[in-house]
């Protein structure tokens, strides 16, 4: 299969920065920060998802959990994206054609869509169920979907490391 922007990915690999990362201790260094950021990302979103599922932190309003934890998730996501891009550019053309990598991107995208859907649809009626121990089914589905997708992202990420 021919990848779109094939030249672009090859160009990316040949950047001095990409070569520097690929051939020095920068790669494991960025990777270790990437794992730390991903763990923190999943840890913070997990706390929100469990509240959405009505499984934990029931004494706190759902809006309080999202307000206090989602910023940490975003922060960790930024760190993960920057370090992840650094790892990606070392062998961009290979990664972009690699099925586990593609799967990881698709799941990331779906996790984002799930979050947006929750934020702009389900969350609108938050006032009606904010303090309810058991949020409505749409919120529960959003929480469960998020958990599954993030676990899938972690698994796909590790899979990349074993197959490339």
């Amino acid at each position: 299969m021919n990848m779109p922007f094939a030249e672009f990915w090859t160009c990316l690999e040949r950047l001095p920065l990409a070569e520097h990362i690929g051939f020095t201790w920068w790669f494991p260094f960025l990777e270790s920060i990437h794992v730390l950021a991903v763990a923190f990302l999943v840890g913070s979103i997990l706390m929100v998802d469990l509240r959405l599922l009505g499984l934990a932190a029931l004494r706190y309003a759902t809006s309080r959990m999202t307000r206090e934890l989602i910023p940490w998730t975003w922060g960790a996501l930024c760190v993960a994206m920057v370090t992840g891009s650094g790892l990606f550019m070392t062998r961009a053309a290979t990664y972009i054609e690699h099925p586990p990598f593609q799967l990881k991107l698709v799941m990331l995208l779906l996790a984002g869509l799930n979050m947006a859907l929750f934020q702009f649809r389900t969350f609108r009626s938050i006032k009606e169920w904010d303090t309810a121990a058991s949020p409505p089914i749409a919120a529960k589905i959003a929480g469960a979907t998020s958990l599954l997708l993030w676990a899938g992202v972690v698994l796909a990420g590790r899979w990349i490391g074993h197959t490339i």
């Binding site: 794992v35 730390l36 999943v42 840890g43 309080r64 934890l69 972690v154 590790r158």
Partner: protein
């Protein structure tokens, strides 16, 4: 002691089983590692969050004593799970871990991190609001939080670097 344990493991049947499982169960190595990372995520969402709360950096609307009671059981479950998934790899290649300085760093940071987590949990169980009873205790809690955060970050960093110790010791 270390040599004895390493050589015993190398010759043990447990090693054979671990090698067999990792080599023959389809996808087991990445799956076990992903579960290990998810366990770390739970550590981040429990004891690390408590540390950040001690420092006044996160979750302002939650009560720290209640947080400890609610979250620490997650820490212990996650660490137990990680012991299992981690042991699978240690058993399969004992020498890779027993004679690796980075692995040594990891476990010498993990031990005090676990002890601190235990202290935080234990004293709070014995006495509700233990860490908020006086300004001195609040200060101690903050010191513990800083040390604990540094240790957990170090554990994760060293954990990932175990596989890359060549870069540190045998590079060029």
């Amino acid at each position: 002691m270390k040599d004895w344990l390493a050589s015993t493991l190398v010759e043990s049947q447990a090693r054979e089983i671990a090698v067999y499982l990792l080599g023959n169960v389809p996808g087991l190595p990445p799956i076990a590692q992903a579960v290990h990372i998810l366990g770390i995520a739970v550590v981040m969402g429990s004891i690390v969050m408590v540390d950040l709360k001690f420092l006044g950096l996160a979750v302002p609307g939650q009560n720290v004593s209640e947080m400890i009671r609610r979250l620490m059981p997650w820490t212990w479950w996650a660490l137990s799970l990680n012991a299992v998934t981690g042991l699978l790899f240690v058993l399969a290649r004992p020498n890779r871990y027993f004679y690796n300085p980075v692995a040594e760093w990891k476990f010498s940071m993990l031990l005090p991190a676990v002890v601190l987590a235990f202290i935080v949990h234990r004293l709070n169980t014995r006495e509700a609001d233990y860490w908020e009873q006086s300004s001195r205790r609040r200060l101690v809690a903050r010191v513990i939080a800083v040390v604990s955060l540094v240790l957990w970050i170090g554990v994760v960093q060293a954990g990932r670097w175990i596989a890359y110790s060549d870069y540190l010791f045998f590079f060029e």
